[in-house]
């Protein structure tokens, strides 16, 4: 028996935790990258503002994407409702209101992480302490995932955890591709070329994927291969295709899944059928936009079906078996 309201909170809890981890990882990798890049490079913290989708709001409050400004805005500024502390508060609030169904140990870890982040937030302003802070955040998020995986029944509730996590993950991967590729793909600035590899490596790093890429893709780090890997690989946890597969598995275990499945199939086809070699030379941005819209569709269908208790008219999904078969 799973309450609609609980399913919704669990889903958003997982999304928030994943968002916190992703933000920490992005900051950490950019931190590394900055140390490697020549001073002349334009690269700074601006791409992070774009990736996290906060640009419009950010520039309402700040003129420049300076390290300090970006760090404050991403981590602790209440004007940014997607900032790390707000996401943690969101995760905590969702967990707090559904504590009855989560293992106690998860609540303890999240509480710890929340207190840690509040007490140590000033550390993110200096490069030296930033690393420690972000690493702790990432580790704690993994601890939460691990505790959920190891001590929570893998029942329907858990499917909502997985769905929240995977949809947030897919979303972040698409953002990283969008912004990084924008800067990396079309331009062939000779002077910056040596650093192109580093930047592609950083794309993989920000998604914790470099090591796996090297194992599975037997070529050196190259733009189109990285893109193919992050979009279409079936095994890498942060590849969009893999995230969508996870969603598919989750939905299979849930009742009344027709409408979300329909939206999912559309996203899967979009990603699997993409011609990466063509995308790198042109409409990548538009393509990523389509992927994000497809993810939004899945989210809307999950919301309507499971969280708002919409009654489904079977007629609308009359041709569904065919759609599924051709996916």
């Amino acid at each position: 028996m799973l309450l609609s309201s609980v399913a919704e909170r669990v889903y958003w809890f997982a999304r928030y935790v994943e968002r916190v981890e992703n933000t920490a990882r992005l900051i950490l990798v950019n931190n590394h990258l900055l140390l490697d890049m020549p001073r002349a490079s334009a690269l700074g913290w601006e791409p992070i503002v774009s990736i996290t989708g906060i640009a419009e709001k950010f520039y309402q409050y700040h003129k420049q994407a300076s390290e300090r400004n970006v760090m404050r805005f991403l981590v602790m500024d209440a004007n940014n409702e997607g900032c790390m502390l707000q996401s943690l508060a969101g995760a905590r609030e969702n967990l707090r209101t559904s504590r009855a169904i989560f293992p106690r140990a998860v609540w303890e870890t999240l509480n710890d992480l929340n207190s840690f982040a509040i007490e140590n937030k000033a550390k993110v302003l200096t490069r030296r302490e930033r690393y420690q802070f972000m690493q702790h955040v990432i580790d704690s998020c993994h601890l939460i995932s691990g505790k959920l995986s190891a001590s929570m029944s893998h029942d329907q509730i858990y499917e909502f955890v997985r769905m929240g996590r995977n949809i947030e993950r897919a979303d972040m991967t698409s953002r990283v591709i969008d912004v990084r590729a924008e800067n990396l793909l079309p331009k062939h600035d000779e002077e910056m070329k040596p650093f192109s590899d580093i930047q592609w490596k950083s794309v993989l790093d920000s998604l914790a994927g470099y090591q796996m890429y090297r194992r599975y893709v037997h070529v050196r780090v190259r733009g189109d291969e990285v893109l193919r890997y992050l979009l279409q690989d079936a095994y890498f946890p942060r590849a969009i295709n893999h995230c969508l597969d996870q969603l598919e598995q989750c939905l299979r275990n849930l009742p009344r899944n027709e409408a979300p499945q329909y939206a999912l199939v559309r996203a899967q086809r979009l990603v699997r059928n993409a011609k990466v070699e063509k995308l790198v030379h042109g409409p990548l941005h538009d393509f990523i936009n389509d992927v994000q819209l497809a993810l939004i569709d899945i989210n809307s269908e999950l919301t309507a079906t499971y969280f708002e208790g919409k009654e489904i008219s079977p007629a609308v999904y009359y041709d569904l078996p065919h759609q599924l078969a051709s996916a």
Binding site: M1, L2, S4, S5, A100, I101, Q156, G309
Partner: protein
């Protein structure tokens, strides 16, 4: 410097651990000795460990007026309160007797009203009770039980007598702190549990579940039970969530439930609707059903009273059970015990003066400086006056209030309230305490082993409520081996 018991002065009150001669009371010797053996660092470390455990476990309560963070960690004192198993045995029996009579009274009030016809209980007291719900007349809940969960507050006066101060029959809270306090103590003082034979408190959640399950109107092995909460802004939300978790049942808000065309209660789930059999509600009567009570309520479920009256769902505590949770009605509990059970009360009532009675009112008004005046229906320590501590202005204000609405006020002698050693800034000082055991009733009854000991952390204060500077202690019922 470690704890020195020589400096500990009980100041005329009854101390739970230390007798008048400075010697440990039965069962308290080992803990005193143990504490004496701890140095300042040890003590500080234990206190910090307990605080950390509380914080990590997220044991909180909520304060309405406290802006910013709505959660506060519940202050906890690491020195346990000790009661001998022998004394507890009598208390347990007394509480069972009391709750049985109270339930018979509530059933009678909503049924034939024999007690009124027999002139044991005055009709006008009932007529003026704000917790009497006409909508409950004629309803016959399972086993004739209305107050399934009762939290009775016990206090000990200077001579050592235990009195019942009040019976909370609406939505009594605090049991989760009782359970969590024990959990924290086991983390912080594991070695003490080896020396002592302490009666366990763990079984409560299971008992509560079994009791609720026995109320199900549908004969099924696994009835659907829910805990209905007003939501996260309620001061006891932590407890609602905790109990649901411990029982493995759903924690629901009013918006999760609805009443179908068949007058059954359903909850919204990812599978569609699912029928609910038993509701452990932590929402006040008046917010339970906007169709019947407060039409503005968004906490309740429209039609739920209809479903309950038809017997399609069980509600614990039953709507209307609060009629006996009234300080005027309280004064009649000894008579109820004699009337319904033909027994003498095992536990004492605090002598209570009813302002509605002319002679008693005159006495109260003449003795405001020595009495405690309480409104009949408030809880949480709000709206009361402690005579000896009150200013002249407050006393005259209360005199006015009493004359204006005598039915709404009662007065009691100021009890000195027993004390227990409490850690205050590294020293041990006496602080006043009370005790709230919980009594479960359905086809049979169960009393918690001890209960929640609340402590007034401010020096000399008699107010133990969490909303007003109170904290809590673990309560140990110990086998003292034939003392």
């Amino acid at each position: 410097m470690a704890i020195s018991w020589n400096d500990y002065s009980t100041e005329g009150a009854f101390d739970e651990l230390i007798g008048p001669s400075g010697r440990a009371r039965a069962g308290a010797g080992k803990i005193m000795q143990y504490l004496r053996g701890l140095n300042d660092t040890d003590l500080r470390e234990r206190r910090e460990a307990a605080e950390l455990a509380m914080r990590v476990m997220g044991i909180t309560f909520t304060v309405y007026s406290h802006e910013g963070g709505i959660d506060r960690v519940w202050p906890f004192d690491i020195i346990p309160r000790i009661i001998s198993a022998r004394e507890w045995q009598t208390t347990d029996e007394g509480l069972q007797q009391r709750v049985q009579a109270l339930n018979m009274f509530i059933a009678d009030v909503y049924g034939d009203q024999r007690i009124i016809k027999d002139k044991v209980f005055p009709e006008e007291v009932l007529a003026q009770s704000v917790n009497f719900r006409e909508q409950c007349m004629g309803v016959k809940p399972a086993f004739g039980v209305w107050a399934h969960i009762c939290g009775s507050d016990l206090v000990r006066d200077a001579d050592g007598t235990l009195y019942v101060l009040e019976d909370n029959l609406r939505v009594p809270s605090g049991v989760s702190y009782m359970l969590e306090n024990r959990f924290v103590m086991k983390r912080v003082f594991p070695e003490l549990f080896e020396d002592y034979s302490i009666l366990p408190v763990d079984g409560y959640s299971t008992r509560l579940f079994d009791m609720l399950a026995s109320l199900s109107p549908r004969p099924a092995d696994f009835p659907t039970i829910v805990v209905l909460t007003p939501g996260i802004y309620n001061s006891a939300y932590f407890e609602h969530s905790y109990l649901a978790q411990q029982m493995g049942v759903e924690l629901v808000a009013g918006s999760d439930l609805f009443v179908g065309d068949d007058d059954c209660v359903y909850m919204r789930t990812i599978n569609g609707r699912a029928q609910v059999d038993v509701i452990y509600r932590r929402v006040d009567d008046l917010f339970l059903d906007p169709e019947v009570f407060n039409p503005e309520s968004v906490l309740g479920v429209p039609g739920i009273m209809r479903a309950w009256r038809k017997g399609n769902v069980a509600i614990a505590n039953a709507p209307g059970a609060g009629v006996a949770d009234d300080k005027v009605v309280y004064a009649y509990v000894p008579q109820m015990i004699r009337y319904y059970l033909d027994q003498d009360p095992i536990l004492q009532n605090v002598p209570t003066y009813l302002c509605v009675d002319e002679a008693q009112r005159a006495y109260v008004l003449a003795n405001l400086d020595s009495l405690v005046v309480k409104p009949a229906n408030e809880s949480g320590g709000y709206g009361m006056m402690v005579g000896p501590a009150a200013t002249k202005k407050t006393r005259s204000e209360f005199a006015r209030l009493i004359k204006k609405d005598p039915r709404n006020y009662i007065a009691q002698p100021t009890l000195s309230l027993s004390t227990a050693p409490t850690l205050c800034d590294g020293h041990v000082e006496p602080r006043h305490i009370d005790l709230r055991p919980f009594i479960l009733s359905a086809d049979n009854r169960h009393v918690t082993r001890g209960g929640l000991t609340r402590v007034a952390l401010k020096k000399g204060s008699l107010v133990v409520n969490s909303s007003q500077g109170g904290g809590s202690k673990d309560t140990w019922i110990v086998e003292t081996g034939g003392h």
